[in-house]
Assembly symmetry: C2
Homo-oligomer: 365 residues x 2
Amino acid sequence: MDERIREHADVLVDWSARVEAGDDVVLSIGPGAHDLGVAVAETLGARGANLHVTYSSGEISRAYLHAHDEEFDTTSSHELALLEETDVFLSLGGGRNTSAMADVPSRTRQSYSGARTDVREARMETRWVSTIHPTRSLAQQAGMAYEEYQEFAYDAILRDWESLAAEMERMKTLLDEGSTVRLVSSDTDLTMRIGGRSAVNSAASVAYDSHNLPSGEVFTAPTATEGEVTFDVPMTVRGESVRNVTLAFEDGSVVDHSAEQGEDVITEVLETDDGARRLGELGVGMNRGIDRYTDNILFDEKMGETVHLALGRAYDACLPEGESGNDSAVHVDLITDVSEDSRLEIDGEVAQRNGRFRWEDDFDG
Amino acid sequence: MDERIREHADVLVDWSARVEAGDDVVLSIGPGAHDLGVAVAETLGARGANLHVTYSSGEISRAYLHAHDEEFDTTSSHELALLEETDVFLSLGGGRNTSAMADVPSRTRQSYSGARTDVREARMETRWVSTIHPTRSLAQQAGMAYEEYQEFAYDAILRDWESLAAEMERMKTLLDEGSTVRLVSSDTDLTMRIGGRSAVNSAASVAYDSHNLPSGEVFTAPTATEGEVTFDVPMTVRGESVRNVTLAFEDGSVVDHSAEQGEDVITEVLETDDGARRLGELGVGMNRGIDRYTDNILFDEKMGETVHLALGRAYDACLPEGESGNDSAVHVDLITDVSEDSRLEIDGEVAQRNGRFRWEDDFDG
């Protein structure tokens, strides 16, 4: 077995999920993630955890959903019972076709998803972590050769997480102590209030309220957004290619928008509900192991020298006890490259310029 | 998709497991059984069942068991909770290597199995059915080409089960009403008492107390065995090839045994406990879709024109309420070909001669 697969398993089990002896673990495996599943099972065995292995296949979900009538009105009480007794939920993504469910109507998906709210919430109560095994299908989506993609993925995943967490803590402190953030570049000048909110140091570990591997971002929940922003990182939103989206904010809400490509899908997102016109997240990508866009949000939003903003729902982890953040049925991330002609100010002081942070040697304040 | 896969799925869901709308179903899929999994998911969707998909991989189990210390002293409470809420458990066997767990020490397996007694018992309380998807690895074990094995497997699985169940009911009636059975062939003359026991019409459906697909046998729990029997169907017992086992019984227990090959493993089985020297099962194979041995007990023991006997544990389904049958830690089936020079008598009357049953046109009473 490729030694990187074993290292990935160890990072996932020990750093990310903090598995201990006697933990009841669910290991969810995609059809292309078998080898990582073997390595993770080995690590879980060595830690003395209890193992239940599930299979997450787009083809199986598609067949089930197509055949089912559109009413999903009964609860999967067996799955709910499983998750209510689960300590750790590890999802190993990676299939053979990222479009395996392309022809399932969104109405069917929504109905199914709605019927599974309690199952999903029970899963969120566990120490859950999502990662991917680099498959040929993910390489294809990224436009890369298979071995090239493996190197890319492991560069992102096999970081020195302890050291990155320490660096990200600096950004968290700046955001926690700050009142306003301003993002400026050639076609962007946006201000947001962040006072009273807590940033999450998303260091790819449940110990940091972080549930993705890779991770490597610091994010908070902004309010009172004013100004204009352009997102120059190409993305896929709801199956549509989106390029160079521009949003104009007044009093915290989007009042104008345009896009070079995919404007319709952005319009659709904005019209979901009132919260969809406000920001739920400001995130600073700090994982320099991720050095290019691969059209996979798990990687793209953590890329070093990018900043992302999400329309819609805010994360509770950023909010003071008792305060509710922006509420919406959607959470759509959009990303902008800040490596050139760009600065991020917190309370008027530059925290990041042209991708370099205040504490870095080559920072040009 | 091969239409036979869809037919297999329909037989499994409708005939075997009697799935109804709202049933909580666990679908356990082997690494080579994905395509059957897709077809079964489609049928389950159409029936309105709730679906939880698990992954049963020998490689994953091996990795977990090798890495674990040998004490499995904590219960998988999450898996137990799942199974206690499960109505139907469907196991789709079929991997890529039937020897995937060959190097896991039997002591480790036993320790793991012991710690999972409650999980196993909960599964047995569901409407469980085990079947296989014909894989290349199973074809190899059977010594067949892949397409040849597919035809073999579907001939066994895609029977007219209703009609076979009706035919098997005749054999069940003979066994239920009989007091003694005598099996005679060139090197066998064995008598058993069956009075007071109930035969199971194992028609591949939970409605018949039958949990295998394919099935096609009628079995009961004999006592007071006397005489000699030779099993001429080659088998693998605990990883060892076994050929032409001969057992001599007195007062219901084995008093002498020999084998052309694998005698040691038979000795080991017999020495397990007192019950291992007595018979737990007399079974009559009635599935003529199975026309050859494939070294897979799921198929071999149901083969038409064979009779099998099991050393060890009897099934509760054969026993009158309140009576306990032969008890043992083992249940090892051994098979004899009855297609030639052979007869099965019940209370002195021939029920089967040279493979033909009393009710068949070509029966030569």
